[in-house]
């Protein structure tokens, strides 16, 4: 597995852990009739994600640097850039669906906090879709 693929796995796993936990808790709060004052937790989740990604990236960089130091330092090559670009397409579809859902939610008078969280969920799912597509393309050798 290349260093780039490991980095994408780190991103995907970080998103799954941090935002899985965040949206699980947010969903529970909404079900319990709350959730309007959840923006503080959102900021905490973003900060936690940054810390988790940095720690995991340092960990994989350190282990890769021992086995193949040139992989860590090398810039993206044409195939890796192409994989990243191809993964943008499906991610854009996810964002589009999320935005349309948020517009519909606004139309039906859903609270602003819920709409913001729906939009944020769309962004998170888009990023995870991008990572997942990249992993599939890396695995296929595309």
């Amino acid at each position: 597995m290349s260093f780039r693929e490991k980095a994408v796995w780190v991103s995907l796993v970080s998103y799954l852990i941090v935002y899985g936990l965040y949206f699980w808790r947010y969903g529970a709060a909404v079900m319990a009739g709350g959730g309007a004052d959840y923006m503080g937790s959102l900021i905490s989740a973003v900060l936690l994600l940054v810390v988790l990604e940095v720690v995991l990236t340092i960990a994989i960089s350190a282990t890769t640097a021992i086995a193949a130091p040139q992989d860590v330092e090398a810039p993206l090559d044409e195939r890796e850039r192409q994989i990243a670009q191809r993964a943008n397409g499906p991610a854009l579809h996810v964002v589009t669906i999320g935005v349309l859902g948020a517009i519909a939610a606004l139309y039906y008078g859903v609270s602003i906090a819920l709409v913001i969280n729906c939009l944020f969920l769309a962004l998170v799912l888009a990023e995870m879709t991008k990572s997942a597509v990249q992993i599939v393309l890396f695995r296929k050798g595309a």
């Binding site: 290349s2 693929e5 044409e78 195939r79 192409q82």
Partner: protein, 72 residues
Amino acid sequence: MSGEGITNVIRRLRFEHGEMTQGELAQKVGVTRQTINAIEQGKYSPSLEVAFKIAAAFRTEIGQVFQWKGEA
């Protein structure tokens, strides 16, 4: 991009050039070892620039490395 229709003899050329590893070729060309592996297996068609660099690494012409087997 899939390399359907394009074949190559990179594996044989590596063998003929002192059993050059994929990593060594990758370093000469300026791509990752995984990209050389994908090209060698026909899963990825390189850009013209990378194709020329691969040929240059073996001190040969591009047509000696890559061949088109599909329809014109």
